[in-house]
């Protein structure tokens, strides 16, 4: 079939509108951000010139005006935050106290359901397994890899190899791994894992059906994607360790083992924490992998995918919102820890 531009005209027009809107909004914002401070700067300049010409003492910069300027800069952010975050968060909390069609108040029943329903408990346990395993395993892999390839030959090649999966979307990665786990009853196996099992003389298995093994196999996908991120950050931190410290340690005659635990680990601790916290938050929100690989069947569901199902597919807004609020509560301590940590670093 040939591609006819005339046929696609409505779509192209739509695309152009989108581009135009983007330019107008972004251009307009940047323009505002440029014009307003420039206007203030010019005023100030004029005042200074006038003051120096008349020989009077320099006018003091007035505080209230600076306040106005600050508010001007904060306003768009505050507005967007209110519309996009605060209002929906409050609405979700209210919805979580209502029934499925959001018509009656039911108190804490949705939360009661969340912690008593068998399949929901399974979901909570799965999420816990994810949150414990992914940050630990991905960080460990990234760290070991970063230490091993540090200053090795072909370091750049080795690093890009493990960083490549980062460029693949979660959905794409899940599809790739679904092929790895694929099963064919009789005849040739198209799945890599089953082919290995078969060539070792074993029986092919339906990997994604067996709980709790399937959850671990899904976690492998996430680790595969995220280990590259951990490796890059940690490798940069290792390279940032001051050379004289390393040299001093060498002169003291440390073994590589001591070098790792006494020098490298303490030096990269802040980077390790950043990686672990980022991965924890990303893991709490994991949705795409579970949805693509098993759609939450066979006891693999996690909070985020269950939340989507309850609210958007089953019409149970109350239960979906309760899950969303619970997820929100789970993320809060991690975020607080991260903020405190950043503040300490800045002070220290």
């Amino acid at each position: 079939m040939e591609f006819d531009f005339a046929d696609e005209q409505p779509k192209l027009l739509m695309l152009m509108y989108g581009l135009v809107a983007f330019v107008v909004v972004v251009g307009g914002l940047l323009l505002l951000l440029d014009v307003v401070p420039a206007w203030f700067a010019r005023r100030r300049e004029a005042q200074l010139v006038a003051a120096s010409a008349s020989g009077a003492p320099l006018p003091r910069r007035s505080k209230p005006r600076e306040g106005i300027l600050a508010i001007f800069f904060l306003l768009p952010t505050l507005l967007l935050l209110t519309i996009g975050l605060v209002v929906p968060a409050i609405r979700t909390m209210l919805l979580s106290l209502m029934n499925g069609s959001s018509t009656n108040w039911v108190g804490l029943r949705n939360y009661g359901w969340m912690f008593s329903d068998d399949s929901m408990l399974r979901v909570l346990i799965n999420t816990l397994v994810w949150v414990v395993l992914v940050p630990v395993v991905a960080t460990a892999f990234g760290l070991i890899y970063a230490v091993l390839v540090d200053k090795a030959r072909f370091e750049a090649v080795a690093k890009s190899l493990i960083f490549l999966p980062m460029a693949i979307s979660f959905v794409g990665a899940s599809i790739i791994w679904k092929f790895v786990y694929a099963y064919r009853g009789d005849g040739d196996q198209i799945g890599l894992l089953n082919q290995i099992v078969v060539s070792l003389g074993g029986e092919p298995k339906q990997w994604l059906l067996e709980s709790p093994l399937n959850t671990l196999l899904l976690i492998v996908i996430m680790v595969w994607i995220q280990a590259g991120f951990a490796m890059v950050v940690l490798s940069a931190a290792i390279k940032a360790i001051p050379g004289d410290i390393v040299e001093a340690a060498r002169l003291d005659g440390v073994s590589p083992w001591q070098m790792f635990w006494q020098i490298t680990m303490p030096s990269i601790r802040p980077a390790l924490i950043v990686v672990a916290v980022t991965l924890t938050i990303a893991t709490l929100k994991v949705f795409d992998i579970v949805r693509t690989a098993t759609n939450g069947n066979y006891d693999t569901s996690v909070i985020a995918s269950e939340m989507y199902n309850q609210a958007f597919r089953y019409g149970q807004n109350g239960q979906g919102s309760a899950l969303a609020v619970f997820l929100f509560i789970l993320v809060i301590p991690v975020v607080i820890y991260q903020i405190r940590n950043l503040r300490q670093q800045r002070e220290g």
């Binding site: 107008v24 323009l31 329903d117 064919r184 009789d186 069947n297 019409g315």
Partner: protein
């Protein structure tokens, strides 16, 4: 501080240019007038005229080739009346429709395949009542059974559009002839034939319930079909409306009976592996081994005819055809399980009502049927316009006044069960979990 910088100039120019472009772009709407109105071929559409240049948006789950046929089916209507129909099909229809409606971005018309979802929108006050013309036409053309499924609290909201018959078992007439097997007409014959085929070394059945987001639905059809046969239509109605528990003993019986086929390692799953492979086999592929001789039978709806590769002869003497899924208890009649979609409106502008009325009319159903692969319960459908043998058989079954027709049960139930725990429960059941705890779990999830 330099005030006039190069980047800033660029933004000023871009911004002004953008504003100017968007202003002119708004002015170039196409004012397409129908010039054919008044000609002879437009005579049947006269009653819809007077809405020239108006636009009606339709949202549905029908995509790809079928959507093309859909758009072709109303091309005459749009040409004659000047009403422009903007059709959009989405694979995420069931999840996106509530989002769009709640967000104030509802389509004018939606084709909803679940009466349960129609009820949800009607209860929330989102749906518009049918116009007088549409209602009169619907009542005249549709069987009462079907109108019942589009009715909520005594008000008719949904007009039935397409339909399908689910009580079919696909088989290969060629293979049956070669091996000397007879098409079974009773449940005993069906089981006897299955045993005979299993003894010959071929797996008698194949099944697959993988369907992406909707994985599990083909298994619910099995249960519904068997329950209709063992317990009868009355119990079935009580079950779908939750007047009896989901795990009523009669339902447990039906599930166990379905299990004698579905969970039987000797019967399952031709060409795909053991019983467990049912949950990971795509429903689109599950019946294909019928034509390659790897399995003999596959219970699936009439629309499965579209799945066979090009060149497959779907006919009574061809590579693939279907027979009626036999009755179990003669006293319960010859029940038929089916499904279809309902046309509901979120707006009541005259042009929207015109489209809705048109979709219920004889002109429309015959125009769509002529394009092939389509069946409806609308009794104005002329069977001469239905080409394929399986569609013909389906229309005969749908228009048979003596048949006991029931709508797909999971589509009637609230989505939390019908599109949620029932599907999930069936997957667990096929994976080896016992009947009682599965049904108990579904029962406890019924929204209160």
């Amino acid at each position: 501080m330099a005030v006039f910088t190069r980047p800033r100039q660029a933004f000023v120019i871009a911004g002004v240019l953008g504003l100017a472009l968007s202003a002119t772009a708004c002015g170039t709407g196409d004012d397409k007038k129908s010039d054919k109105a008044g000609s002879a071929e437009c005579a049947p559409y006269e009653k819809y005229q007077g809405n020239d240049g108006k636009k009606v948006s339709i949202y549905a789950s029908i995509r790809d080739a079928e959507a093309d046929l859909l758009e072709r089916s109303w091309s005459q209507f749009t040409e004659c009346t000047g009403i422009e129909i903007a059709y959009e099909g989405s694979g995420e229809f069931e999840a996106q429709l509530p989002v769009r409606v709640d967000g104030g971005n509802a389509p004018d018309i939606a084709f909803v395949p679940q009466p349960g979802l129609v009820k949800r929108f009607a209860d929330a006050g989102k749906l518009k009542q049918l116009g007088a013309d549409t209602k009169a036409l619907a009542e005249q053309n549709m069987p009462a059974d079907w109108l019942k499924y589009g009715t909520v609290n005594g008000t008719l909201y949904g007009v039935p559009l397409g339909a399908n018959v689910k009580s079919f078992v696909w088989y290969s007439p060629k293979t049956f002839k070669e091996k000397g097997w007879e098409v079974p007409t009773t449940w005993e014959q069906l089981i006897a034939l299955s045993d005979k085929i299993a003894a010959s070394g071929m797996k008698p059945w194949c099944a697959g319930v993988e369907s992406g987001d909707a994985t599990g639905w083909p298994a619910t059809d099995w249960i519904e079909d068997v329950l209709l046969r063992t317990a009868g239509a009355e119990v079935y109605d009580q079950w779908t409306t939750h007047q009896i528990a989901f795990n009523d003993p009669r339902v447990v019986d039906a599930v166990d009976r379905a299990g004698t086929i579905l969970k039987n390692e000797k019967y399952m799953n031709g060409g795909f592996g053991g019983v467990k492979s049912i949950t990971t086999t795509a429903f689109q592929e599950a019946g294909l081994p019928v034509t390659t001789g790897k399995c003999a039978m596959h219970r699936q709806a009439s629309f499965y005819a579209n799945q066979f590769p090009e060149g497959t002869k779907v006919a009574e003497d061809g590579d693939a055809f279907a027979f009626y899924f036999p009755a179990i208890d003669a006293a319960k009649g010859k029940p038929v399980l089916g499904a279809g979609e309902f046309v509901v409106a979120y707006a009541d502008r005259p042009e929207v009502q015109a489209v809705q009325t048109y979709l219920a009319s004889a002109e429309y159903v015959n125009s769509r049927a002529k394009l092939g692969n389509w069946v409806t319960a609308n009794n104005k459908l002329d069977i001469a316009n239905v080409a394929s043998p399986i569609d013909k058989l389906s229309v005969q079954i749908l228009q048979d006044k003596t048949g006991v027709f029931r709508f797909d049960g999971s589509d009637l139930m609230p989505a939390a069960v019908g599109a949620g725990t029932f599907w999930k429960g069936m997957i667990e059941w096929l994976n080896g979990k016992a009947t009682a705890p599965v049904l108990q779990g579904i029962e406890s999830s019924w929204p209160k």
